[in-house]
């Protein structure tokens, strides 16, 4: 166990430094921040102008009118960011043959996957960290409910972990970063529209399935400040399942090649 933790820490630290050392990461962070800032400003303008508030039926509670809506949209922004972050996790190592080198050290496949997962999830937390400025500004302007804000952050952090695990699994399938990113986008899109399709066709069974299976259904509760253990467990299981698939995939490289 001690050895596993050591290997995981070494791989996570190397991967995290690599991610933060690439210009791509800071460009993505900048774009994410700018987009979030634009959304925040438009929400604040809508909230602070009584005429607009009345016209658009915006609620008087700043937490609901601004924070909830902001985090709801940030969640979609994160879905756009994650594949660009995770696409290189294994695809690049496979292309450079450095994964083969890692696999000849005593580090287990679980340690390799866990290390990369921690690093990528950590990078997502950096994304989330830059958004702290918005609740702080809201605190300055009004009186938001911090427990709800905390719940929103927990929601996005858990969802990010799930998306990172999904992206890492698709990255482990190929040595092309582009293919890894496209596959992750397709999977996220399918998950996103799953409920909509079920709803459009009025298929009751599918609708009930989508309520249980799609990430969005479990994010909503958190964004409204309702912290439910079942939702948290869902994200943990979702992440674990795709990390498990990634481990099996890189283990199978040994036998399939």
């Amino acid at each position: 166990m001690k050895s596993f933790l050591r290997h995981t820490r070494l791989i996570a630290w190397r991967e995290f430094r690599l991610l933060l050392g690439t210009p791509m990461f800071w460009v993505l962070t900048g774009v994410f921040f700018l987009a979030a800032a634009l959304v925040y400003i438009s929400l604040i303008i809508g909230f602070s102008d009584p005429t607009l508030r009345e016209e658009n039926n915006i609620k008087a509670d700043v937490t609901i009118a601004v924070i909830h809506d902001l985090f709801y949209i940030l969640h979609f922004f994160l879905m756009v960011q994650v594949p660009m972050l995770t696409m290189r996790a294994f695809a690049e190592e496979r292309r450079q043959n450095s994964l083969a080198l890692l696999q000849t050290t005593p580090a287990s496949e679980w340690a390799i996957v866990a290390g990369k997962f921690i690093a990528n999830a950590g990078a997502m937390l950096v994304y989330l960290g830059v958004t702290l400025v918005f609740p702080l500004m809201t605190e300055y302007l009004s009186d938001p409910q911090w427990p709800v804000i905390g719940s929103c952050y927990v929601a996005l952090a858990l969802a990010s972990c799930g998306y990172v695990a999904l992206g890492m699994f698709f990255s482990s399938l190929t040595d092309s970063q582009v293919i890894a990113a496209v596959l992750t986008y397709v999977a996220l899109f399918v998950m996103l529209i799953f409920a909509g399709v079920a709803d459009a066709f009025g298929i009751e069974g599918l609708l009930r399935l989508s309520e249980h299976l799609t990430l969005m259904a479990h994010v909503k509760g958190f964004l409204e400040g309702n912290v439910a253990l079942v939702d948290a467990a869902y994200f943990v299981v979702f992440s674990f399942v795709f990390l498990f698939f990634a481990v099996r995939q890189i283990e199978s490289l040994r036998w399939r090649s």
């Binding site: 450079q96 450095s98 083969a100 000849t104 005593p106």
Partner: protein, 317 residues
């Protein structure tokens, strides 16, 4: 240390290894030779636990590579082809990470890193980014990580690619110095490297073993030893019978031709027979002929490689 038995590997319908069998005693430096596509890298990948054989078995230090590869990883130093090191890391921090992944104790890590940096002549670039190093130095970083932890088995796939002649000589010297201390498998296309470094050679072609043996004697086993004489003053049949009786050779083993007004005698000598050169020289002089030259013509590794891979000779018993 390494025992490979009837190893076969198929990629779909394509056969990469076909009943490969060889063994490497502990402390030997083995040169794994063969033309491109012969199956060298596949054999190395199986031995390092990166891929599974279709049939047959391979054991490293008594551990089965298919089922006990985690145990083998602890004995292994591996340099893959093209030395895939992380360009964004500094040399020392990369080695520190690899030392950690190899479970080196923290108390010995600094000393171990200094040792491998010294052995691979990288002390001067220890704080530089790997991505800014020359290809030769990057290759050395790959070798340095393989040496970390003083592994019992070192597997080096084309370790001298990209190095200049001076660096090649240094790496060869480094590998040669490991003879007797650890087992090394070296795959290379540069045959002079093998002559300089290896104690034994395995030559494969189309996934099959075509020659195997110590570097000093593999030529005798593959192509046979030859004695070459130049004699002035004698006539062809007289010289032939004199050489045959002095050395105890069958007449069909002796070829005589006239070159530059001298007789050139080539004798095919069976492997393992004692040295008859003194007896032959004495007999030539006794007959009153002039012995201009008497040499043993040993095959170079290049001759052996070309002969073995062209003819596909079977492994000698």
């Amino acid at each position: 240390m390494i025992d490979v038995r009837n190893l076969s590997k198929f990629y779909g319908a394509t056969r990469s290894l076909d009943g490969l069998t060889f063994s490497v005693p502990e402390g030997e430096v083995l040169g794994l030779l063969g033309p491109n596509g012969a199956g060298k890298t596949t054999a190395m990948r199986i031995l390092t636990g990166q891929t599974r054989a279709t049939s047959g078995s391979a054991r490293v230090a008594g551990f089965d590579v298919a089922t006990e590869h985690l145990k083998i990883r602890r004995l292994l130093g591996y340099l893959p082809e093209d030395s895939p090191v992380y360009p964004e890391m500094r040399v020392e921090e990369y080695l520190k990470m690899m030392a950690g992944l190899k479970d080196l104790p923290a108390t010995h890590m600094k000393r171990e890193i200094d040792r491998v940096l010294d052995e691979t002549n990288l002390l001067g670039v220890r704080r530089r980014l790997i991505g800014n190093l020359s290809k030769g130095n990057r290759q050395r970083v790959g070798i340095a990580q393989a040496l970390l932890g003083d592994p019992a088995l070192l597997v080096l796939d084309e370790p001298t690619v990209g190095l200049d002649p001076k660096q090649i000589a240094e790496v060869c010297e480094l590998i040669r110095s490991m003879r007797g201390e650890r087992t090394v498998i070296l795959s290379t296309h540069i045959l002079s490297n093998v002559s300089m470094t290896c104690s034994c050679v395995v030559i494969i072609k189309d996934g099959r073993l075509v020659a195997e043996g110590p570097v000093e004697t593999i030529g005798d086993r593959v192509r046979g030893r030859r004695l070459v004489l130049r004699v002035r003053g004698g006539e062809e049949n007289g010289v032939r019978s004199a050489v045959a009786s002095a050395g105890g050779f069958p007449p069909e083993a002796i070829e005589v031709s006239t070159v530059d007004a001298m007789l050139r005698v080539a004798v095919a000598v069976e492997s393992g027979t004692e040295d008859k050169r003194a007896a032959i020289a004495r007999r030539i002089v006794e007959e009153g002929w002039e012995l201009i030259e008497l040499t043993e013509d040993r095959a170079t590794l290049e001759d052996i490689f070309l002969h073995a891979t062209a003819s596909g000779v079977e492994r000698p018993a």
